[in-house]
Symmetry: C2
């Protein structure tokens, strides 16, 4: 699972989706393959732990905008799954697509969707294995299941972070959230040149598949940042049974994001709780800094140390400013819109 | 794929779903794993062809009735996938669930759904590996991906039927279609005792997993009957490049179905084109009748020879009455309602 419902908003019935899943579906899983649904992927039975699998479901109006270009919807769906697999030290090997197209979508829309899918299958070198397509009277809904070839060191799990380990993140945080705010008109007028890279990052994220493929050699724990940096750090802290200290000033922003949040401390802070970054958050002993630097260089991936595994209560994440004061982010991991 | 959209009704845009898939998605597949989407399952990469995979997607109001009991929706979803795997000579080994619950579904509904899922996972001895759950403003939509352990003789494909082979089907045909008609009130008053087994078969089909597990030893081709007997015979005939002759009078009906269609020739004939039977349709040389009888006995599965592989044009299915005259069924494989 990309941990079903994690960090998502409470529903009308007043219970958290994550709690719901944990309570109802986790017992249907097993320790050997499903990890009681505590990780981003499971292991396919009868593969000697060499093949992992993950699924993501997206619904128009919930996880993407109904008027998003159809090729970008398909590509984001692929990349979200590739990101889950990369964060586990594996490489995508094939995809299974279930698609419910709204009954009013015309052929050209579906063609564009298939074309985006084709582009990314070629990019990541993974074939379509199968799936199902149906028509729906409701919003377009897509479920993609991706298979991954597990690296020689085995899966990098959410568990495994050790006190003293450094906490690292690839790339930059917050671009996608700003891109979504721009699309929703929440940031007023933004010049096209500044707007474009942020919107693109929201619509078509770039999973860290080259970096992820080498992660197994040194990472003690990892997951991809999809629900939001702090929410996902919380998942990692919970499953590893540790606390995490994050330094706000070290969390890397892109040039576009830095310019937009300049002079707007609330907006800057909100990016720590925003989602859709699809970067890899991981822990590793500082003894491994050479191996880490080598992989970052070889895969051309920026990596920043943003904190460390602390000695606080298990499952807590503490965000501090440069003076060491604790910062509070209003909404962590809010993903619906 | 449970061959996406096969045999389903044309959509508003006026093209068949099957044609759409064949044209847009088949090229994204590969010969080694996805079979260009011409079969019920694909093969998971890096498993030496030992693990197969299939997905089915169902939407409330299209593939099930929104007020169907939630446990039966979950169980049907599992069984539809188990049926696909059984018809390929494989055994289900694990499941991946993507669920978009309508946002107004309350906890007890989801609990009942999870409970039905749990029952069938236990029945078929397969764990939940992972998946995703989300909330949707639209109808409940579920995609289940099932993994199968391929038998020692390899996958039983849709291709492989040879002229002269016998054509066989397990169990009986038409119960589910009659159950659906009863639920929709199309058959008037039906006594409860006669109504119940038909409705149950529509809601919770019984896949032929014990029979399917031994199918690889002798079947030259097979698939499960989901779109309708004649539609699925057509898929088999097309992929095998043969014609099939089906004897109407030999197609087995249950006692309940036989009583309902008595004196109603049109209703009887319509069952040949109805769906949701989840029986296995297969071909085998008549030399294998001993092996076939042995497996049928060991798995307690009724099997009926209903025709043979003919010498007509590839892809054609001819239904004949006892006098040898050709019968025409108005709507083949209509699955929506």
């Amino acid at each position: 699972m990309g941990r079903p419902g994690e960090g998502r908003d409470n529903n009308a019935a007043g219970f958290g989706e994550f709690e719901l899943i944990a309570r109802l579906f986790a017992p249907l899983s097993d320790a050997a393959h499903g990890f009681q649904l505590t990780d981003d992927v499971g292991l396919v039975p009868d593969t000697d732990n060499r093949v992992c699998v993950t699924s993501d479901m997206i619904v128009a109006g919930v996880h993407f905008l109904p008027d998003d270009p159809p090729d970008t919807i398909a590509r984001k769906l692929v990349r979200v799954n590739v990101s889950d697999i990369a964060a586990k030290g594996a490489q995508v090997s094939g995809l299974q697509l279930s698609a419910a197209f709204n009954r009013d979508r015309d052929v050209s829309w579906i063609e564009a969707f298939a074309s985006g899918l084709a582009d990314d299958l070629a990019l990541f070198g993974a074939p379509l294995i199968g799936g199902d397509t149906v028509r729906s009277p409701g919003p377009d809904s897509f479920s993609l299941t991706a298979f991954g070839r597990v690296g020689p060191h085995g899966l990098v799990r959410r568990s495994g972070a050790q006190p003293g380990d450094g906490l690292y993140v690839t790339g930059t945080i917050g671009d996608a959230a700003l891109g979504l705010k721009i699309l929703k008109g929440e940031l007023g007028m933004v010049p096209l040149g500044r707007r474009q890279p942020l919107v693109e990052r929201y619509r078509v994220p770039t999973p860290r598949h080259a970096f992820g493929a080498g992660l197994g050699a040194f990472a003690s724990s990892a997951l991809d940042v999809s629900d939001g940096l702090l929410a996902d750090a919380g998942h990692l802290a919970t499953v590893s049974g540790v606390s995490l200290d994050v330094s706000f000033d070290r969390v890397p922003l892109s040039g576009s994001a830095a310019r937009l949040v300049k002079g707007n401390a609330d907006l800057h802070l909100s990016l720590m709780g925003a989602g859709d970054d699809y970067e890899i958050l991981f822990t590793t002993s500082t003894d491994n800094s050479d191996a880490l630097a080598e992989l970052a260089g070889a895969s051309d991936t920026p990596v920043t140390r943003i904190g460390h595994v602390g000695t606080g209560p298990a499952g807590t994440v503490i965000l501090r400013d440069s003076a060491g004061d604790v910062l509070t982010v209003p909404s962590q991991g809010f993903r619906h819109f």
